[in-house]
């Protein structure tokens, strides 16, 4: 086990184009992670993701898109100081690699930067891990939304 890097792989029974949209677009991101997301899904775009309610102890975390090559790769840096450009050593780098597999997609995720940034940021990650209680909360929000969804060809 490499301490300082997290690697995961999951098979998704959906096309790479759909999976790419889900991992990259701000509207989708907030369905599976933060409560709000503001950025453009293009390389170099800087924005922020929001956990909880800003007026009630929530947190706004910088988010910068590093690479976006549909439908194969999407990567971003987060947790860098708001007044600094995201770079190695001041942020966590999350990379999604997608490859076609049968009728679906093999989705590989890596998150690196814990070692360079020291421990506090892993504590930060831990604090953000479960802002939603689970799928029972999620599904009612998702279904009306899927019906209106357009995936870019």
């Amino acid at each position: 086990m490499e301490f300082g890097t997290i690697e995961r792989e999951i098979y998704v029974a959906a096309s790479p184009e759909i999976v790419f949209e889900v991992v990259s677009s701000p509207d989708h991101l907030k369905q599976w992670w933060p409560d709000d997301a503001r950025y453009e899904a293009t390389p170099g775009s800087s924005g922020e993701i929001v956990f909880g309610d800003c007026d009630a102890g929530g947190a706004v975390v910088p988010f910068t898109v590093v690479d976006a090559r549909p439908p194969r790769t999407f990567s971003f840096r987060w947790t860098h100081p708001a007044d600094k450009v995201a770079a190695k050593g001041n942020s966590l780098l999350v990379t999604f690699d997608l490859s076609p597999s049968g009728d679906g997609t093999l989705l590989k995720m890596t998150e690196t930067g814990f070692r360079e940034m020291g421990w506090e940021v892993a504590v930060l990650e831990q604090q953000y891990q479960e802002h939603v209680t689970g799928w029972d909360f999620f599904l009612p929000r998702l279904l009306p939304y899927v019906a209106t969804l357009q995936v870019r060809p």
Partner: protein, 119 residues
């Protein structure tokens, strides 16, 4: 312990375990049930002095404890502290497990919706 002190301890713990040589040393200490700078140096491609330095880092992070026996200090792994370090990282991993499950469900729901529309 104040929050600042706790943070410093966690930072030391993280740096200590982040180094591959030190992780190998922890492995050897666990396998052998302890060891000295000399015994570890014989099993690793680094000098005894480097081993002693790494042991110092592990000691400060609370990951090993030194027992003064004979001419040379003998080191044992503090398994409670090691378990704590591993648990902290694996909680970040399980957060990603949950996120990826949600990504999977969302993408598969979209796929099904599109197929239904095409039928």
């Amino acid at each position: 312990m104040s929050a600042a002190v706790t943070e410093k301890v966690d930072d030391d713990l993280w740096s200590a375990i982040g180094d591959p040589t030190r992780r190998r040393m922890l492995d050897l200490l666990l396998i052998d049930g302890g060891g000295t700078a000399t015994s570890l140096g014989q099993q690793l491609p680094v000098t005894r002095q480097a081993v002693a330095k790494h042991l110092g880092v592990l000691d400060r992070a609370g990951l090993v404890r030194a027992m003064p026996t004979g001419r040379e200090k003998r080191y044992l792994v503090d398994e409670a502290q090691l378990a704590r370090a591993v648990a902290q990282l694996s909680s970040v991993g399980s957060a990603w497990d949950a996120r990826l499950q949600r990504i999977k469900r969302i993408a598969e729901a979209i796929q099904r919706t599109q197929q239904d529309n095409n039928d």
